[in-house]
């Protein structure tokens, strides 16, 4: 199965309370998958050149304080850590910070890099994960979440969704792909590195590859329809957009609820039944191979 949730805020009130609305959505989708869960949140950009680098450690008592001190002294970076998750804010020369981290702290897993994106993912029931990383306090313009019932690769934090590629791009997936090994080989030949053996990572890197080649998101997804074989409902987050597509057979569920205040996306209606004004929302199902997109 797997569950997909997304929320796009249309005004400042919704942006301020984005986390408190997404928590019941993602917790409800624990019924569709409780191996792991994850959430990507996009916030308004603070500074043009700065980058947010999200890090994950499997060590439950990781010495974040030491890293924080070094980052502050050597690289003049801001730093916040919570449990297994940390955010480095690199305002000058972010590439230098990324290189420095991979050189000195290779045990840390980079969850995301971007101007606006933060990614949280871990194994366990979404209720525990939402609680652990305080999802209810999160603010932002839009967010993309996932609950996983693993079918094709291991249950680890790294195999959890959302997957990321490049900067400010994430993707979650409900379904299964049948030609991901071929696509992976094609992308690897082009020098694109992978972090896991998961099928969803392939489609995420495929979309990023097309974007890098100059495609618009619509063109990249058109290529996805042509080249990616299998069942999928995909929800994609970028710095300023949330995009939803289903495969030609539309075997995997999705529902959209739109009001003046938000666009909610979920695998099932019950995931959004609690949202304010849902009784008057425009509810509809996305059609196969059509691109549904909302821009900040």
């Amino acid at each position: 199965m797997c569950g997909i949730v997304g929320l796009f805020a249309k005004n400042s009130e919704m942006r301020a309370s984005l986390g408190s609305h997404i928590v019941p959505m993602i917790v409800c989708m624990g019924d569709r998958g409780q191996d792991s869960a994850g959430l990507a949140v996009f916030s308004e950009q603070s500074s043009k050149n700065s980058r947010r680098i999200n890090l994950f450690s499997r060590d439950n008592s990781y010495p974040w304080d030491t890293l924080s001190e070094k980052l502050s002294q050597e690289l003049n970076c801001d730093f916040n850590a919570l449990d297994n998750h940390a955010v480095v804010i690199a305002s000058e020369d972010p590439q230098h910070v990324i290189n420095w981290l991979s050189e000195h702290y290779s045990e840390l897993f980079v969850l995301s890099i971007g101007k606006t994106i933060d990614v949280y993912k871990d194994i366990g029931h979404p209720l525990e994960i939402a609680d652990k990383y305080r999802f209810n306090e999160l603010k932002g313009t839009h967010c993309v979440g996932h609950t996983r019932m693993a079918t094709e690769s291991a249950v680890t934090p790294y195999h959890s969704h959302p997957f990321i590629a490049g900067e400010d791009l994430c993707l979650v997936h409900n379904g299964s792909l049948s030609n991901h090994h071929n696509l992976r080989r094609m992308l690897e030949k082009r020098g694109i590195p992978f972090e896991t053996d998961n099928d969803t990572e392939v489609v995420c890197r495929f979309v990023q590859w097309r974007l890098q080649e100059g495609d618009s998101i619509e063109e990249a997804l058109q290529k996805t329809f042509e080249d990616v074989d299998g069942f999928y409902t995909l929800l994609i987050g970028t710095a300023d957009r949330i995009v939803l597509v289903r495969d030609a057979f539309a075997c995997k569920p999705a529902l959209i609820a739109e009001t003046d205040n938000y666009v909610a996306i979920g695998s099932e209606f019950r995931t959004m039944a609690h949202l304010p004004g849902i009784e008057n929302a425009h509810l509809y199902e996305p059609k196969p191979e059509e691109i549904y997109s909302w821009k900040v």
Binding site: P253, F269, R270, L283
Partner: protein, 228 residues
């Protein structure tokens, strides 16, 4: 009317309540706060009237016998799956596989029905006020699917004896489905279904789709895949 509340009771408790009814009970009930829950009112076998006050999830009113169930909202996958008799009315839209495998009774959907509506139906009638998604009436064996709007591609793929009536545009027929001329008995049937569903259309606007029956038996002359 007696009220039940899914905010206070589980789906299992409410379904058990209906299963315990006498099979000639004619009372009227309503269920509040469905909130998209799955499996509501599955397996009822009594001539009760039931109103669902809100959106329901998957398999609502599955295996229904005798009862008249109205959903004041949308429904998820497989509404009225394998229904045997009675009437189910959805005052909204239905997700995939509406009325799948139904043996009898009438399923009415006011709005659109998504893909695979009436898949493998075996004698029930389905009336859709709006459009239906792709591959509707796939392998439908008996019964009627009446569509007041348009039908997406693959309509009636691998049909057996079920008959489809379409008022709007057909975006593509499935394998072995073909359009056939409407006869007097078809107009009578369309009129009967529209009257039961309380939809106001002229039966003359409908087209008939049925099986060409070329897939009924294996033919040595049809195109075969080579087996080496």
């Amino acid at each position: 009317m007696e009220s039940l509340d899914l905010a206070a009771q589980s789906v299992r408790e409410i379904n058990q309540f209906f299963h315990d009814l006498n099979s000639s009970d004619t009372r009227e009930f309503e269920i509040h706060h469905p909130n998209g829950a799955h499996n509501i009112a599955v397996g009822i076998d009594a001539p009760v009237k039931l109103h669902i006050r809100g959106h329901a999830g998957y398999f609502i009113a599955g295996m229904n016998k005798q009862s008249e169930i109205t959903i004041n909202g949308n429904v998820g996958w497989s509404v009225g799956e394998n229904m045997m008799s009675g009437v189910i009315r959805v005052n909204g839209f239905a997700s995939e596989c509406a009325g799948a495998s139904g043996h009898g009774g009438l399923l009415i959907i006011d709005g659109d029905a998504s893909s695979r509506c009436g898949i493998s139906m075996k004698g029930s009638s389905i009336v859709v006020g709006g459009n239906v998604g792709h591959m509707s009436a796939f392998m439908a064996q008996a019964g009627y699917l009446l569509i007041c709007g348009d039908a997406d591609h693959g309509l009636g793929d691998s049909l057996y004896e079920a008959i489809i009536y379409v008022r709007g545009k057909i975006h593509g027929l499935g394998a072995d489905a073909r359009e056939e001329p409407m006869e007097d008995s078809d107009y009578t049937k369309v009129n009967e279904l529209l009257t039961m569903a309380k939809f106001n259309h002229d039966p003359k606007e409908f087209k008939r789709v049925a099986s060409a029956k070329t897939l009924y038996h294996w033919s040595p002359n049809s195109k075969q895949f080579a087996v080496l």
